[in-house]
C-alpha cells in the first residue's frame, strides 16, 4: 500500500510538473553557458570595472531561439551583468569584436570556418565553446557533447590555460578532459 501511494504521488508530481520531465537541448546548453560564467575566472584586466558585463557571443546561426536570453535575463555573476551579443557568420573584419567577448559560443553553422575562428581567438582571454565535433582536438576549450539523452562536456584545459583562463575544478569534475599528446 505504501508502495502504491508512492507511485501515485510520483505520477501526480510528474503530471503536475511536466517540466520536470524533459528540457529542450538548448535550454540546457544555455544554462551551461551561464554556469561557465560562474566557474571560469578571467585574468585581471579583463573587466574595466566591477560592473562591466560578461559578454556571451553567439557566432553563426543562433540555435537557442529565445532560450539564452531567458536564461540570463536579469542575472549577474559577481556583480557582472550578463549580456548576449549575436554575430552572423564569421567575418575576418569583425574579429576584434569577437575578441571583446568573454564567452564565445561557436554555432554548428561555422563548421567550415572553425580552424580560422580558433586561429583568430588564440591568445585572447575568450572562453571558446562549441558543439562542432572534435572541438577540443582543434584547440577549442569546451565542447557540448551528447551521451544518451544527456548533454555532456569535453574540456581542453590546456587551451584554456594558454589563454590565462582558470576553469574551476567543479566544472572539470563533470567533464571529460581532453589531453593533447
Amino acid at each position: 500500500m505504501k508502495k502504491f501511494r508512492r507511485i501515485t504521488l510520483a505520477l501526480v508530481l510528474a503530471i503536475a510538473f511536466p517540466a520536470w520531465g524533459q528540457f529542450s537541448e538548448y535550454a540546457v546548453k544555455a544554462a551551461y553557458l551561464f554556469n561557465f560564467a560562474k566557474f571560469v575566472q578571467w585574468p585581471n584586466g579583463t573587466f574595466n570595472s566591477a560592473a562591466s558585463p560578461i559578454i556571451i557571443g553567439v557566432l553563426g546561426d543562433d540555435p537557442f531561439g529565445g532560450d539564452l536570453d531567458r536564461t540570463v535575463e536579469g542575472k549577474s555573476v559577481d556583480g557582472h551583468p550578463i549580456r548576449i551579443k549575436r554575430f552572423g557568420a564569421f567575418d575576418v573584419t569583425r574579429v576584434s569584436q569577437l575578441q571583446k567577448c568573454q564567452i564565445l559560443f561557436i554555432s554548428y553553422s561555422e563548421k567550415d570556418n572553425i580552424t580560422e575562428i580558433l586561429g583568430a581567438m588564440r591568445g585572447t582571454d575568450v572562453l571558446t565553446v562549441s558543439e562542432i565535433e572534435k572541438f577540443p582536438n582543434l584547440g577549442g576549450m569546451i565542447l557540448f557533447d551528447q551521451e544518451g539523452q544527456r548533454i555532456t562536456l569535453a574540456i581542453n584545459p590546456q587551451a584554456a590555460k594558454s589563454s590565462q583562463l582558470t576553469i574551476s575544478s567543479k566544472l572539470l569534475q563533470v567533464a571529460t578532459i581532453y589531453k593533447s599528446e
Binding site: 529542450s24 540546457v28 544554462a31 554556469n35 546561426d61
Partner: protein
C-alpha cells in the same frame, strides 16, 4: 539485402506479362481493364479542423530556472535533442534537391514504416501497393520495381540488382534509432554510382553513443496491427558504446476494391546490434541484423484460362535476411579523412514448399577526402561489389544461367572548388564503373553553388546517370502453357534480352533556398530530365507454329522481351516550405508538379512504370499544446495517375486520393509516453490500382505506449 521478394516480383511480372500476352494472342477484348473499379471516394475532411487558435497556445516548455541547478544535476537532465541547426547547415550548402527527415519529423508523423515517412518529402510519390508492398519514386516511373531510386541504410545498398528495386517491407527497424533520412532527388551517380538515376535515399541510424539506456515500445491497432520493440544501450570502458535491439511486428490486411479482406497481412521479427568505438583519430562502427519476414500474397493463384486470380490461395512467403557491416573512419589531419566500409548481406527466400533461393552481396568501399591549396576539397574513392545468386532450386526455373556471380567495380573523383570565398563554389566529379552486363559506364556531373549571404543560396547542376539492366531483364527465361490447338500446345514466354544497354538520363536542375524570416524557410527545385534507352517490354506475336521453339517443345505464340525502346522528357518543380507559426505551432508544406512529353505517357508499366501524377501535396502541423502534450496532423494528396496496361495502352486512371492522419502524444511522466493515432481518416482508397495484387489501406486507430529509461 532482401532480395528474394523479388522472386515474388518476378512471378508478378510473369503474371503481368502472361496476362498481356494472352490478351494479345487470344484477342480478347479489353474488358479486363474494367476489373479495377475506383472505390467511391469520401469527401475530404477539413484538415484544418485541428488547427488551434494561436492565442490559446500554452506558454512553451519549462519555466524552471535551470541556472539554479548544480552542474551535476544539469548534466543529469534528459534533453530533447533537435539538432536542427546541424541539419539546416548541411542543407544550405547542398548543390542538389535534398530534404532531411529528422527524428523529430518521424515522431511527429506517427508513422511506423520507413516508406510511409517519405510522403513528407517534396517530389516523392509513395504508393502503398498492398499491406506489405510499397512503390516509391521521385520524378516519374512509378512502378513496384522502383528501379531508378537507390536506397542505402548506413551506407549499405538495399537496392536489389537482381530484380532492380527495393523491398520496403524489409526496411522497418526501430524508428526511434533512426537519426535521419536524407533524400536527394535527381541523379546521384557521380558519388553513388549506377541506379541512382532519380534519387538517393540515405537512412542513417543513430550512433550508439546517443542511444544509451532502455527503450521499449508496444503498439496495438484496430486493423490487427501489433508491434513491440526493445532496445538496450550500454557502454564498455570509456570509448566503446553499443546497443542491442529486437522487434516483432504484425500488420493487418488491407481491403480489396469490393471491401473484402485482401489477405495480405504480414509479419517480421528482427534482432540486431550496433557498436561504436570513438578514439582520438579513429571511429569504428560495427552493425548487424538478423530478420525473418512472412508476407501473405493472396492472389497468387492466377488461372491462365480464366485470366482471373482466384484470390483464395494465400502463399506464405518467408524471407530471411542477415547482414553485417563494418565502417572505419580515420582522421589523418584537420584537412584529411579516410574511410573504409565493408559489408556482407545474405537473403534467403523460403517459400512454403521449402524450395529456397539465396542471394549474397559482398561490398567494399574506400573513400578519402582532403583539402588542397585551401580552395579545393577533393574526395575520391573506389568500390568493389560481388553479387552472387543461386536459383537452381526454385519450383520453376526463372533464369539462364540459374546461378550467377557478378562483379561491379569502379572509382570516383569529386572536387569542390571555392571560386569566391563564402560565395561561389563549383563542384565537378565523375564516377567510372565496370558493370556486369554493360561494361564501362561513366557518370559525370557539374554543380554550381552561389551563396550571396547566409540566408540565400542558389544552385544549378547538370549530370548524367545510368541504370544498368537487372538480372531479370537480362536473364529471365520463363514460359507458360497458353492454349492447345489440335495436337500442338502453344506457349507465351518472358525472355531476357542479353543485348540490353543501360538506360541513360541527362538531368538539368536548378534550386533556390531562402530563409525569409527566422521561422520561415523555402526550398524550391526545378528539373528537366531527358531519358534515353528506357527499358520497356515488347510483345511479339507469332502465328501459331511460326514462333521460336520453347525448351520443352512446342512453340511460342507470344513472347515478351525487354528492349531499350523508349525515351523522352520528364520535368517538374518541387517546393518545400517550413513555417514556425509560433514557438509551439509548427507547419511544413510540400508541393510537387510533374509534367512529361507524350512519349512518356505510353511507357509500359511492367519494367518502366507509369507516368507521374501531375500534382502532389503534403501538409503537416505540429502543436505543443502543453509541455507534455503534442498534437499532430498531416495530409497527403496525390493527383489522378494514368494507368497503362501491360502492353502500354492507357486504360484509365487511378483516381486522386488523400491520406489524412491525426494523433497526439502525451508524456505522462519523464519516462512514459502514450500516443494515439487515427490513420487514413479519409477512408479506404486505392493508391496503386494499376499494379497487380493491389489493395486499399483503410481507416485505423492505434495506441502506442513507450518507455525510455
Amino acid at each position: 539485402m532482401l532480395t528474394f521478394k523479388k522472386n515474388k516480383k518476378v512471378k508478378r511480372v510473369l503474371k503481368a506479362v502472361f496476362l498481356g500476352a494472352i490478351l494479345l494472342t487470344a484477342t480478347l477484348s479489353r474488358a479486363a481493364a474494367e476489373e479495377t473499379k475506383p472505390s467511391p471516394s469520401v469527401p475530404a475532411a477539413d484538415s484544418n479542423a485541428t488547427a488551434p487558435e494561436p492565442d490559446s497556445v500554452a506558454a512553451g516548455p519549462s519555466t524552471t530556472d535551470l541556472t539554479q541547478l548544480s552542474l551535476e544535476n544539469l548534466g543529469g537532465l534528459n534533453v530533447v535533442v533537435t539538432s536542427s541547426a546541424k541539419e539546416e547547415e548541411s542543407l544550405r550548402n547542398a548543390t542538389s534537391a535534398i530534404f532531411v527527415i529528422t527524428q523529430e519529423d518521424i515522431r511527429n508523423s506517427g508513422l511506423q514504416h520507413v516508406a510511409d515517412l517519405l510522403r513528407m518529402v517534396p517530389g516523392l510519390l509513395v504508393s502503398r501497393v498492398n499491406a506489405n508492398e510499397w512503390a516509391v519514386t521521385a520524378r516519374g516511373f512509378n512502378s513496384e520495381f522502383n528501379n531508378k531510386m537507390l536506397v542505402l541504410v548506413d551506407g549499405r545498398s538495399v537496392y536489389q540488382a537482381t530484380f532492380g528495386g527495393v523491398n520496403w517491407n524489409e526496411l522497418d527497424t526501430l524508428l526511434e534509432d533512426i537519426d535521419r533520412i536524407e533524400v536527394i532527388r535527381g541523379p546521384g551517380g557521380t558519388l553513388w554510382g549506377e541506379n541512382a538515376v532519380n534519387g538517393v535515399i540515405n537512412i542513417i541510424t543513430k550512433d550508439s553513443k546517443i542511444t544509451q539506456g532502455v527503450y521499449a515500445t508496444s503498439l496495438t491497432g484496430s486493423n490487427g496491427d501489433n508491434m513491440a520493440a526493445l532496445r538496450y544501450g550500454g557502454k564498455i570502458g570509456d570509448d566503446l558504446y553499443y546497443r542491442i535491439y529486437g522487434q516483432t511486428e504484425n500488420w493487418g490486411s488491407f481491403q480489396t476494391t469490393t471491401g473484402q479482406n485482401a489477405e495480405d497481412s504480414w509479419m517480421a521479427q528482427r534482432a540486431g546490434f550496433r557498436t561504436d568505438l570513438h578514439e582520438e583519430t579513429d571511429s569504428l562502427t560495427l552493425e548487424g541484423e538478423y530478420q525473418v519476414g512472412n508476407f501473405d500474397d493472396p492472389q497468387n493463384d492466377f488461372n491462365a484460362l480464366t485470366l482471373q486470380y482466384s484470390g483464395n490461395y494465400v502463399n506464405d512467403e518467408v524471407d530471411r535476411d542477415d547482414h553485417l557491416l563494418a565502417h572505419w573512419v580515420h582522421t589523418f589531419s584537420d584537412n584529411s579523412e579516410g574511410s573504409l566500409m565493408v559489408y556482407y548481406d545474405q537473403v534467403n527466400m523460403l517459400p512454403t514448399n521449402n524450395v529456397g533461393t539465396i542471394l549474397n552481396t559482398f561490398d567494399a568501399e574506400l573513400q578519402y577526402r582532403f583539402q588542397l591549396n585551401g580552395w579545393n576539397e577533393v574526395t575520391w574513392g573506389g568500390e568493389f561489389r560481388n553479387v552472387s545468386d543461386d536459383y537452381s532450386n526454385p519450383i520453376t526455373s526463372f533464369y539462364i544461367p540459374e546461378e550467377a556471380s557478378l562483379n561491379t567495380y569502379g572509382g570516383f573523383l569529386n572536387d569542390k572548388v571555392t571560386l569566391v570565398d563564402n560565395r561561389l563554389y563549383l563542384t565537378g566529379g565523375v564516377k567510372l564503373e565496370n558493370t556486369p552486363y554493360t561494361g564501362n559506364e561513366w557518370e559525370p556531373s557539374g554543380r554550381l553553388l552561389f551563396t550571396p549571404d547566409s540566408n540565400n543560396s542558389l544552385w544549378a547542376a547538370v549530370s548524367r546517370n545510368v541504370r544498368v539492366p537487372s538480372r531479370v531483364e537480362e536473364d529471365v527465361n520463363y514460359f507458360q502453357q497458353g492454349f492447345a490447338a489440335g495436337p500442338t500446345t502453344f506457349y507465351a514466354g518472358l525472355v531476357g534480352n542479353t543485348n540490353l544497354t543501360s538506360e541513360d538520363i541527362v538531368s538539368y536542375e536548378i534550386g533556390y533556398r531562402t530563409n525569409i524570416t527566422s521561422g520561415l524557410s523555402l526550398d524550391l527545385a526545378g528539373f528537366y530530365n531527358w531519358y534515353y534507352n528506357v527499358i520497356t517490354a515488347d510483345f511479339i506475336q507469332y502465328a501459331p507454329g511460326t514462333g521460336p521453339a520453347t525448351p520443352i517443345g512446342g512453340s511460342y505464340v507470344s513472347e515478351v522481351l525487354g528492349s531499350n525502346a523508349k525515351g523522352g522528357a520528364i520535368y517538374g518543380t518541387e517546393l518545400s516550405l517550413k513555417w514556425d507559426i509560433t514557438n509551439s505551432l509548427k507547419s511544413a508544406f510540400a508541393y510537387t508538379y510533374n509534367g512529361y512529353d507524350s512519349t512518356m505517357n505510353s511507357v509500359e508499366n511492367i519494367f518502366a512504370g507509369n507516368p507521374p501524377p501531375h500534382n502532389i501535396l503534403d501538409g503537416r502541423l505540429s502543436w505543443d499544446a502543453a509541455s507534455n502534450l503534442k498534437l499532430n496532423t498531416s495530409y497527403y494528396w496525390v493527383d489522378a495517375t494514368p494507368i497503362n496496361d501491360p502492353t502500354g495502352v492507357n486504360t484509365g486512371i487511378v483516381p486522386s486520393y488523400g491520406v489524412w492522419d491525426l494523433g497526439f502524444s502525451w508524456k505522462a511522466t519523464m519516462n512514459w509516453e502514450l500516443s494515439v493515432w487515427g490513420q487514413d481518416l479519409e477512408g479506404a482508397h486505392a493508391e496503386a490500382a494499376s499494379f497487380l495484387n493491389s489493395s486499399s489501406p483503410q481507416t485505423g486507430v492505434y495506441g502506442q505506449l513507450t518507455a525510455r529509461y
